[in-house]
């Protein structure tokens, strides 16, 4: 296993008096896909929000390449190389596809044309729709745009919050193909999913979250084979 690019230690997130994340620890090794699976309210999204700086963690540490980033603001965290693909896609509906991609590269001062072309190579559909408003795309295309937009910041780690949410099974398969493809090109990915089957098949390593804690971990295939995971999340 290669060196961990992202180290989470004893991370806690509170909303008012409610503990959403109760001290979890895990590593994201460079160049791998790591997935957190779990039911609604297990604290998966809160974990991502804390890492991306949108909510401040109540305790614990988050290290990116040995540098502490907990409590920093989202702008600095994006600058340092962690970008979030938010839940429900949240593309900018009134901006064109290209403008959406440009906003993704907002913090970069260098030339972004090559990267736009790179994203268009990954998602030829986006190139066809380059001048269309983001809101007119289909759900799957919007998800492609959300991923492409996040890639535009040239992140070291890309975090995806339920990319399969509300998409047809065939589209979901396409999205996971893309996740594998950008991983093959060297991107480190932290993925959270309710679609445990697809996520575990894709990921190198998986963690199961329940009510704010990690209850199980293993490689994707190990977890897929585990009886209790099967019963709770795979519905078999």
């Amino acid at each position: 296993m290669s060196e961990a690019i992202l180290k989470i230690r004893d991370l806690k997130v509170n909303y008012g008096g409610i503990e959403a994340v109760k001290g979890i620890s895990f590593d994201v090794p460079a160049g791998e896909i790591v997935t957190l699976i779990g039911a609604n309210g297990a604290g998966k999204s809160s974990t991502l929000r804390a890492i991306s700086g949108i909510v401040k963690p109540a305790g614990g540490s988050i290290e990116l390449l040995g540098e502490h980033i907990e409590g920093k603001n989202p702008t600095d965290i994006v600058k340092m190389g962690i970008t979030l693909v938010p839940e429900g896609r949240k593309i900018f509906p009134d901006l064109s596809v290209k403008e959406n991609l440009r906003v993704g590269a907002y913090l970069r001062k260098d030339n972004i044309e090559d990267d736009i072309n790179w994203v268009y190579d990954l998602f030829p559909r986006l190139k066809e729709r380059s001048w269309q408003a983001g809101g007119t795309l289909s759900g799957g295309e919007q998800q492609m745009l959300a991923v492409g937009r996040a890639l535009m910041s040239r992140p070291k780690v890309i975090m995806m919050d339920e990319p399969s949410l509300g998409l047809a099974p065939i589209v979901v398969r396409g999205i996971f193909d893309i996740i594998r493809e950008i991983n093959r090109q060297g991107m480190t990915i932290l993925l959270i999913e309710q679609n445990a089957n697809m996520a575990l098949k894709t990921a190198h390593k998986g963690y199961v979250m329940e009510t704010g804690s990690i209850t199980m971990s293993g490689t994707g295939l190990e977890l897929l084979a585990d009886e209790s995971v099967k019963a709770a999340y795979l519905g078999t």
Partner: protein
């Protein structure tokens, strides 16, 4: 910022068709502007004063000023998604700043008659006239005062923005409305009378009629051109800003705050930037309004004025600059000119009993309701006026009609 705007304008980044359309639009705009410029000079200097030009000139001036006020409000409400209702308050500060610094020192005793000639004893146009001569002095002096008005308002906005911009939607609207009312009350307070002249008028400052160049016995007047130039330049700056990467960030915040934040856009910083810039231009509009009115009184900058501007923005289309301008001119022309006959008590020689003072406003309200019902997104929606799109649309329409005809013909056979 310059670099980012360049990156946006760089034609290599656009596709050729879009580029061609843009070129056509820019050419048309340039030609129209040149025609307008010549027309305004002719209007100011050559055309005789009759009942038509006497109505046309004030409507044009006020329309230009309100266009700027609308566009600056649109930058905030339409492009950044911040619903603020402080416009009249900011225009008030702009108008007062302009007036205070351009009242000639010889007039201070007359204007500030209850406050021992006021606390500020100099006048910027006058100081410059001393160095540059009268003509250049009054032109440059007013422009400096206008910019100063914008800067003072921007500083006000920055102070207000720190607490207010943390609020969202309705709360921001209520808080900004409250601030505008507080500002109005403070400017009417006699305790500050030495500067603001309390609840009395400010007058005798440099106005549009002073914008002229005397050549011997002939004087070349710019009294209508001047507001168009200032408002036009300001709107141009706002358009460039909206098309820059900052503008894109504003629109991203408007579309989705969480996603914008996830892309690394600092929400507070960008909201503040938009708020301050919008307020700067509201201040410029206020200064122009002061020049137009020739007198300034705080009590006229009330919430009705904010709502009027908001109404123009909504009628024009939230998120459309050209829509705001069109709506501003139409609104001003309707309310001040075209519907006047409804107040006169007669159409031609036929007397109509219910045509009396105020009836114009009843009709006007109905017209506005009809417009809002039929154009639910305003005249322009969130699009801009563009000849190339009109051509494209009419072509598409013609093609569709031809197709329908062909289909019909096919059936007939």
């Amino acid at each position: 910022m310059g670099k980012r705007i360049n990156e946006m304008i760089n034609p290599a980044l656009r596709n050729p068709e879009e580029q061609k359309a843009k070129k056509l639009d820019l050419t048309v705009a340039a030609v129209l502007l040149a025609v307008l410029l010549v027309f305004l000079i002719v209007l100011d200097n050559v055309l005789p004063q009759n009942s038509f030009t006497l109505m046309l000139i004030p409507v044009l001036k006020k329309g230009a000023i309100y266009s700027l006020a609308c566009v600056s409000m649109n930058l905030l409400n339409g492009f950044t998604g911040l619903f603020s209702l402080g416009q009249a308050g900011f225009m008030l500060v702009g108008a007062y700043t302009y007036a205070i610094f351009s009242i000639p020192s010889g007039q201070h005793n007359a204007v500030y008659q209850y406050f021992d000639g006021g606390a500020i004893k100099f006048s910027i146009p006058e100081l410059l006239s001393g160095v540059l001569g009268d003509t250049a002095g009054s032109f440059l002096g007013s422009i400096i005062c206008i910019i100063l008005a914008g800067l003072v308002v921007a500083a006000f906005a920055a102070l207000i923005g720190i607490p207010v911009l943390r609020l969202k939607s309705d709360y921001l609207a209520i808080a900004s409305l409250g601030f505008a009312e507080i500002i109005r009350a403070i400017f009417q307070w006699n305790g500050l009378g030495a500067v603001t002249n309390g609840s009395n008028l400010l007058r005798k400052y440099t106005a549009f009629s002073n914008m002229k160049i005397d050549i011997g016995s002939f004087s070349l007047k710019f009294s209508t051109l001047f507001p168009f130039l200032i408002a036009g330049l300001s709107i141009l700056v706002i358009v460039l800003l909206i098309n820059s990467s900052y503008g894109r960030a504003f629109k991203a915040i408007r579309d989705d705050e969480i996603a914008a934040e996830a892309m690394g856009i600092n929400l507070f910083k960008h909201k503040m930037l938009s708020f301050v810039i919008s307020s700067f231009f509201a201040g410029v509009a206020g200064a122009l309004l002061a020049m137009y009115q020739t007198t300034v009184q705080a009590s006229t900058f009330n919430t009705t004025m904010t709502y009027e501007i908001l109404l123009m923005v909504v009628i024009g289309g939230i998120g459309s600059i050209s829509g705001s301008c069109i709506a501003a001119f139409l609104y001003i022309a309707c309310s001040e000119w075209w519907l006047r006959f409804l107040d006169s008590g007669a159409i031609g020689s036929i007397s109509v009993p219910f045509f009396r003072d105020g009836f114009r406003k009843v009709v006007f309200s109905v017209v506005i309701m009809v417009i809002v019902l039929f154009f639910s997104k305003g005249i322009m929606g969130d699009k801009e006026l563009s000849l190339s799109r009109m051509i494209k649309k009419s072509k598409a329409k013609r093609a569709a009609r031809a197709e329908a005809k062909a289909a019909e013909g096919g059936e007939a056979k």
